[in-house]
Structures are given as structure tokens and as C-alpha cells.
């Protein structure tokens, strides 16, 4: 497929983000430009404080650039009102957080339904069906009614991924989604993300772990709020194989 035919999901043009901390100005992003095409699996790496989370918040429409333009699915985000951005988050973005962020004392299915609660196009029945389908997609079809505090970290993260999928978003954003998980469970998540990638979803995955870059299709390195490297990975490793190769129950 040639570059021109592919659909651009995300386009950043010289995005800058400054924070005022007391009398000082922190330049968290100092002019970031890139395009992300539909179906890409992009990992974003960089040292702590390099601006990864700040960048992801921009992409997730949780924050607006101090300068520069951001187009999500062709829509300019910078000049939008708060509630327009909320709607954009609701319809086009799926977020997966490091610490899962599930609602406490709430079942898996209800957690996954959450984004659709804020979408008036769904009625209660459609909402539930969509949530069940998303949970089945992440392999939790048999844990629908489990409460968030009755699940393991890996299961909670799967619920969080299902929640990010349920609104059929243009892009899935993950900020250190495997940061709190052991190696084995991390690979299980990677298998899941690769599966979603294979289904044609666009994924942006922030991570500290350099190994993970090998399982994505493209890797962006940040340093001091600037892109230092942006490389395509033509030799994507299979997370499934890596998982199978891991020694079973090595901790016991």
C-alpha cells in the first residue's frame, strides 16, 4: 500500500505544550509533528519526563496544545470547546491507563458500558450487547458479572481494554498499559494488542520497555519534548510466540 492511499487518523503540526510552574515555563512538548495512519501500531518511548504522557493527553483530546495544530480523523481539535472535546473522546478515542481505572464495586460489563452511557445513540440493550462483545473480544466472556475488586491485574487491564474498544474508536491510546503487570501478563496484553492490530485498529502505545517496540509496526522516540527517532519496524515479532516461549510458572 502506498503512503498516499492510507487514511490519516492523526496529524500533528508543530505541537507545543508549555506549562507554567510558578515563574518558570516548562516546555513539555517543543514542536512535535507526525502523521499516524489507520491500522498502525505505534509505540512511543523516551526517558521519564520526555513528554510521552503530555503527548498522549494531546492525542486523547484531554488537553489542548499551547501552539500548533492537531487533526483527529480530519477534525481540528485545538479550537474546540470542552464539551466538543468530550464528545470526541467519547466517539473516536479509547483510553487504556496504567492503573486500569475501573469503577470500584462495579461489574466488568458495567465498566465496559461506561463510555456508551455518554452516547445517546445507544439504548440500554445495545449498550449491554456491545459491552459483552468487547469483553468476549478480550477473552473475558466468562467474567461479565465479576466486580472490579474480584479480578486480577491482568483481568482488570483486559476490562480496561474492552472499555477502550467498546465505542469502536478511531484510535486506541495506551499509557504504560503493561507497566503494572508481570512479564507473562504483559505479553498476554501484547498478544491482545497485536490481535487488535491485526483486526485493523490503530493503536498508540506509550511504554518504557524497549522490547515492546519490536512487537509494534512503528516506534517514535521522544527526548526533551521532541521527536528524536521515528522508525518503521518491518520485522514485527509475534507476541504469541514469545508468550509460548516463556517458561511456565517460573516464580513457583
Amino acid at each position: 500500500m502506498s503512503e498516499k492511499e492510507r487514511k490519516v487518523v492523526i496529524e500533528l503540526k508543530d505541537v507545543r505544550r508549555d506549562f507554567q510552574v510558578g515563574s518558570e515555563v516548562v516546555h513539555a512538548l517543543r514542536g512535535v509533528s507526525f502523521k499516524i495512519y489507520e491500522g498502525e501500531f505505534v509505540t512511543i518511548m523516551g526517558t521519564s519526563g520526555s513528554g510521552k504522557s503530555t503527548l498522549l493527553n494531546q492525542l486523547g483530546c484531554l488537553d489542548t496544545p499551547t501552539k500548533g495544530e492537531y487533526f483527529l480523523d480530519g477534525t481540528p481539535v485545538r479550537k474546540m470547546s470542552k464539551s466538543q472535546r468530550a464528545k470526541l473522546r467519547n466517539r473516536k478515542i479509547g483510553f487504556v491507563f496504567q492503573n486500569y481505572n475501573l469503577l470500584p464495586k462495579t461489574t466488568a460489563v458495567e465498566n465496559v458500558e461506561l463510555p456508551l452511557m455518554y452516547n445517546s445513540k445507544y439504548n440500554a440493550k445495545q449498550r449491554r450487547e456491545a459491552a459483552i462483545k468487547a469483553l468476549q473480544d478480550v477473552g473475558l466472556g466468562d467474567r461479565l458479572e465479576h466486580k472490579s475488586n474480584q479480578m486480577s491485574g491482568g483481568q482488570m487491564q483486559r476490562v480496561a481494554i474492552a472499555r477502550a474498544l467498546v465505542n469502536n474508536p478511531a484510535v486506541i491510546l495506551a499509557d504504560e498499559a503493561t507497566g503494572n503487570l508481570d512479564t507473562r501478563t504483559s505479553f498476554e496484553m501484547l498478544v491482545l494488542f497485536q490481535k487488535l492490530h491485526a483486526e485493523g485498529r490503530t493503536i498508540i502505545f506509550v511504554t518504557h520497555n524497549p522490547d515492546i517496540a519490536q512487537y509494534s509496526s512503528r516506534n517514535i522516540m521522544l527526548r526533551d519534548g521532541k521527536i528524536r527517532e521515528d522508525t518503521q519496524n518491518y520485522n514485527i515479532l509475534s507476541a504469541k510466540e514469545a508468550l509460548d516461549a516463556l517458561p511456565v510458572n517460573q516464580d513457583d
Binding site: A86, K87, R89, N90, F95, N101, P115, M117
Partner: protein, 405 residues
Amino acid sequence: MNFINLLKIALRAIANNKFRSFLSMLGIIIGVAAVIIMMAIGQGSKESVRKEISKQGTNVINIRPGADMRGGVRQDPSAMQTLKMSDYEAIYNEKKFITHVSPEVNSSGQAIYGANNTNASIYGESIDYFDIKQWNIEQGDCFTEEDIKKSAKVCVVGTTIVSELFPDGQDPVGKTIRFKSIPFRVVGVLKSKGYNSWGMDQDNVIIAPYTTVMKRILAQTYFSSFICSAITEEMTDDAINELTEILRRQHKLKEGDDNDFQIRSQQEMMETMSSTMDTITVILVVAAAFSLLVAGIGIMNIMLVSVTERTKEIGLRMSVGARGIDISNQFLIESIMISITGGLLGIIVGWLGTLICSSFGLPTAIPAWSIIVSFIVCTIIGIGFGYFPARKAASLDPIEAIRYE
């Protein structure tokens, strides 16, 4: 987000914190119950006073000596001696809008029969009195005009006197009792009236010819009041004008002089009583309403705690697409729900409290509007005191909120 979803979320939030929600409801429950009980007692007393007064006959007019005392100035005792025999005769002879008139004097003291005695009041009246009060003799007869003329020592007695002085069930008619050592022959027994709304036993009375009481007991030449009845309730005003005219002429008052007597119709008394009752009710209700204000502040406090506690949840909801208004509605509905549930429970508690009060003999009546008002007030409290916490929740920054620990 639609309303049903909001309700579900609010219900869950309340259910997750049952005890805390209940505590913040408690203020509302107590406040509303207090308001309802106060209103019920106020309304009940008012109704019972009204009933009492109208039972006395709505066409009844009272005349008292002395100028209108509403200014609060102390009067010379002689000012209280302005109602004379000649006034009575003038009214009696000239009355057009008045059917009956009775002069009144009274005294209280001990009544004795044999070994039994009781404290009682004696009222000196004319025969008209029984017509004005629509009070029948149940046993025996009334005293006569002849008795009045001769200041005869005869009387009719109320049933309480009978049971106190004749406990063994003797027929009192024909017996001679003593009141302040003066012998009175009982000629009749009055029909029982029971207690009035002030808790006064209306049957603990002795009624004798006014001449007898004036001369033999009080040794005075003036009356303490007149009681009259207008032809109909509608003619009360005409009757009052007529009485005023007669008395002013009798007392030789010049134009511009104040009346040295007061004429009050039963209707007027009823209105004065009602407005006094209203004032008392308002004071009680305002006091109770302050507890509602305090309850509202309690709700606000709990909601602020709840917003802080759920900062992360708010951040999450925002990150998946909740707008500020969705978040503020969520908290607003929660606080409205707490206050309305509290209000409904308060109405029930108030109603039970009212039942308890009336079982202790307090007159009560729950006015329908007090329930409606309580309900509306609770909604307003929910909105009013929930608004600030809800705004606070809605204005959180999603990034900071979701990172909040």
C-alpha cells in the same frame, strides 16, 4: 447522559455509602418532620379553636366595660364599672337586631353539699342566657323571671357539680347547696358540654339569677359583661352598631369621645384567635425550617466530601466522554435524591409524630399543602446545596482528576 442512567448512578452512589447517606438524610428527615408536626399542631389548634367558638354560636356578641385596651394603657378601676342596670334595660327595650340579651356577673368559690365540696364558678345570668348559648336544661327547670325579680336563691348546675356534690347518684333537683355559705336551691341540671379547647371544664358551673349573684354574693351594682345574640350571623354588624348607639347615648359620650366599653362579636374573636394562632404557627415553623437549612448544609458537606473522594472516578468519566454537565448532573441528582428521600421519610415520620401528638390529646390536622411545601423545599435544598459541589466536580481538569490518588 439520559435521566434514567443518572438516577441509576446516583442510586448506586447512595447505596455504596448507605450509612453516610442516611446520616445526611437524617437532618432533612428531622427538619421536615418538625415542620410537619409544627404545622399540624398549629393548624389543629386553630381548627379546634374555631370549632369551639362557632359552637358558642356565631351570632353571639359580647360587651365588656372599659375602653379598648389594645393600646396597653392601664385603666382606672372605675372605668371597668360602666355597664349598669340602666344600660341593660335600654338594650332590652330598644333592641331590633338583637333577639336576646343577658347581663353577666360571676364569682368563684367553694360549693358545698353535705360532706362534699368542690371549687366552682357561679355565673349570674338572665333567662335569655340559655337561648344565647343554646344550652338546655336536662333535668328539672330553669329559674324564672319571678326568681330574678326577687333575687331568689335558686340555681341550675352543670353535671360536674352534680357528680362532685352528689357522688352517690342522688337527684340534685330540689336539694339546697351552699356557695360561699349562701344556700341555693337547685332547680335544674344543665346538659353536659364537656371541655372546651382551652381545657376548661364547661360543666363545672353554677348559674343563678344575675340579681342574686350581684346582691347576695358580690354586693355590686355594675355588670362584668353583657352577652347578646344577633338575629342572624349576617346581622351581627347591624346589631353591633345598634348596641354602640344605645350605650354611647346611655353613657352620655360626646362625639369624638372614645367608647368606654368594647363590643366583640364571636366572629371577630374567631379572627383574632386565628391570627394569633397563625403567628404562633409561623414562629414554630420558621424555627423548624432552620433545621432544614442546617440539614442542607450537611448535604452540601457530604457532597463535597463525595466529590473529593470520587475525583478519580470523575476523571475517568471525563476521559471516556462525560461532559461537565453530565458530571454536574450526576452529583446534583444525587443530592436531590438524598434530600427528597429524606423529605419523604420526614413526611412519614412527621405524620407518625402527629399521630403520637394527637394520641396525647393535642389537636392536630396535617394541612395538605404542608406536605407539598416540604417536598418542594427538599427539592430546592437538594438543588441549592448540591449545586456548588456539582459545579466543583464539573470544573475538575480530567488529567489531574484521573491522576488523583
